[in-house]
Each structure stands twice: as structure tokens, then as C-alpha cells.
């Protein structure tokens, strides 16, 4: 039993080390940068708007990026708060013990 567990864990460790290596090798060079957003393959109106904005007005795009990131962070925070409150855990107090 012990040797079976050992074999399985060795296999998992090997796979864990080798899979990312393979993926990395298959990834190709990372220096091929696309500096213009390709709007031809985008079908969604919102995506198209932001891709066009990236190409035409980068400052406005940067403002949108910050505002949307903050807004999405806030929305997710509130939603997760709502879900976590239903777990029955006390999420408002904790003891600080260092050691």
C-alpha cells in the first residue's frame, strides 16, 4: 500500500514538473507583440468598442481600465461578502495570536 502511494505521488510530481515544461516549450517566442488590437475577430459590441478605443484613444482606454477594474473588484467583493455571510462563519472578529 505504502509503495503504491509512493508510486502515485512520484508520478504526480513528475507530471507536475513535466507538463508545464511541455507547455512552455510549445508556447513559442513571447516577443511577437501585437501593438494594435485586432477588431476583425471580435463580434461582441462591448469588446469591439474597447478594442477600437485601445487603437484610437489610449488615455480614455486607460481611464476605463482603472474604473472598470475597481468597479469589478467592488462588485465581486460585495457578491462574495453576500455568499460568505451565508456560510454561518463569524466574519467580523478574530483573535490575534502570534505564537
Amino acid at each position: 500500500m505504502k509503495s503504491l502511494v509512493w508510486r502515485i505521488s512520484s508520478f504526480l510530481l513528475m507530471a507536475y514538473l513535466l507538463i508545464p515544461t511541455g507547455a512552455w516549450a510549445a508556447g513559442g517566442p513571447a516577443s511577437m507583440l501585437v501593438v494594435v488590437a485586432d477588431t476583425r475577430r471580435v463580434s461582441l459590441a462591448v469588446e469591439k468598442y474597447f478594442s477600437n478605443l485601445y487603437n484610437t484613444n489610449i488615455l480614455l482606454f486607460a481611464v476605463w481600465a482603472v474604473v472598470l477594474t475597481a468597479a469589478w473588484g467592488c462588485i465581486l467583493g460585495v457578491v462574495m461578502d453576500f455568499i460568505m455571510a451565508r456560510t454561518g462563519l463569524d466574519l467580523k472578529s478574530r483573535k490575534i495570536v502570534e505564537h
Partner: protein
Amino acid sequence: MDASWMYMYMPIAGVEIFWPGLVLIGYSVGVIGGFFGMGGAWMVTPGLNILGFPMAFAIGTDIAHIAGKSMVSTMRHSKFGNVDYKLGVVMLVGTMVGIECGAQIIMYLERLGTVGSVVRWVYVVFLALIAAMVFYDYHKATQKKKKGIVDGDKGTEGVTWYKTFHKINIPPMIHFKAAGFTCSVWLPIMVSYVTGVLAGFLGIGGGLLRMPALVYLIGCPTHIAVGTDLFEVMISGLYGAFTYTLKGRIELIAVFVMLTGAAIGAQIGTVATKYAKGYGIRVAFGCAVLACMVSIILKQFKYGTSAAVVILGAITIICIYIMAIMFKGAANELREKKLAEQASLTI
């Protein structure tokens, strides 16, 4: 089987990305960042690169995601009372000025043409020092505990350098309510300035340096250090997201996908701090710092793949460790709550 639905087209980077991978990276870094109080750029960037993002896009996307993720974590830590906003704002002043000075040093070194190698080795030295300090502190605290020495109501502490710094009486003196200490306002400003210079010099967010500085030099309890640092990471991350977007190096769709995973992970990492002792967090943090250091050394010697494997391995192990703390602690709490309810019913 057609697996094309698992790939999402990123119009700015111009690549097809395996989106469950993005969610998974976001989740893992959410767990780790929420527990340690850092952004975790060193973990995300190689992960994004492996998924197929060009490096420049990986960095910008990573910074924006870190800002959003830190927001979720800060909200949760704030409810626990782990964020000292006054301390965070005071330190923000030093951090901003420091980062700018660090960036100027980098520009000077760039003119000399020695920047890449110098930065990496300085980074390695600092990570080694932090890791050594964390493990020395743990060793000292364990020794003290064995001898039965207890420091106040928070339990035994190993390194208490902050006590010496708290004796500095340069006015104005300021009281930080959540962190529970009074010191000269110049102490957090100077410490954040120094960590800011280093962060700017090394081109990192700085959570890796600020968290131990908050604990060892400023004297924050570990939990407050984690929460307050996340507040700083959130502000600096938003600024970083703006500047990287101006340079055109961000993939907004990926940011949102990663943030969705990170929001779940951040809850687990943050709530796990409730069930962890301060030294549990510090030692795990020391291990993360060691993994980061090893990966940089490997990169320096052109073993990029091995460096990525080390980082991914560290993320997996630390993530499992934190999740185990969270689920075990939560199960215990719910069990105790149920027992208490049953006991009150029988009375």
C-alpha cells in the same frame, strides 16, 4: 471532442488563451495574496506567460488584476479589523516618493548599461535576508516559548526590533488604533520610503518587502500587517494599471476573467488568516520568499522553464496549505457553534 469553447480570443495581445487557466491562476494568487498580504506579481507573470501571453502583456495584465484582487481582499480584511487605514495612508506617502526615487536609480543604472544583472542580484540578496530574518525570528520565538517567556497578550515573539524603533521620539507622535501602537510618524514614513525605493528599483509592487517591514520594523501584529499591506497594494496596483494601460500593455478581458477566480480565492486566503497564528503566516511567507529567490537565481542562469516550475510548485503547495487551514478552521468553528446551540437548547 471540440474544446474550442475553452479558449478565449484576446484582441489586444492577439492570442487565444485557455480561460480556465486564467481563472485558476487568479484563484491561486487570490488565496496566497489574501493570506500573506501581497500582490503576488512574481507568481502571476510566469503563469500568464505559460498560458501564452507575451511577457509585456503578462506584466500589465497582472498588475491590473492585482489591484482588483487586493480590493476584494481589503474589503474582507477590513471587516475583521485587519486594516489600519491611518497607517496605510501615512505609509502611502513614503511609498510613492520611494518608488519614484527607485525608478530614478534604475534609469541612472540603465545609462551605465548594467541594470538587468544588478537588479536581479540585489533582489536575491534582499529575499535571502527576508527569508533568513523570518526563520531566525521563528527559531527565536520557539526558544522563548520553550523557556516560558511570553510577550504581552499576543503570545511569544522572536524578533522585537520595533520596540527599539518605537522609542524614537521625534514629533509628531501618532497613535494607530487598529495596529495598537504609538510611534513617531517618521517611522512608518521612513520605512515605507525605503521599501518604496527598493520596490521602484526592483520593479515590483513591494508587498514582499513591505509585509515583513510592517511586522519587524514598525511593530504591526502579523494580521494587521497583512490587511494594511493589501490596502497599499490596492492603491499602487490601480496606479500601475493606469500607467501600464497607457503603454498599451494590458488585456482587459483577461483581467476580468482572472479577477473572477481571484475573488473566490481571496475570500479563502483572507478568512484563513483568522484560523492561523501569526507565526504560521510568517513561516509560510518565508517559504514563499525562498521559492521566489530560487526562481530568480534560476532565471539569472537562463533556466527559465525550471524557474517557472519552481514558482508553480510553490503556488500549488502554499495554496493547498492555506486552503487546509481555512477549511479545517471553518469546520471546527461551525462544529463548535452547533455544539453551543445544542447545549443552550438542552439547558
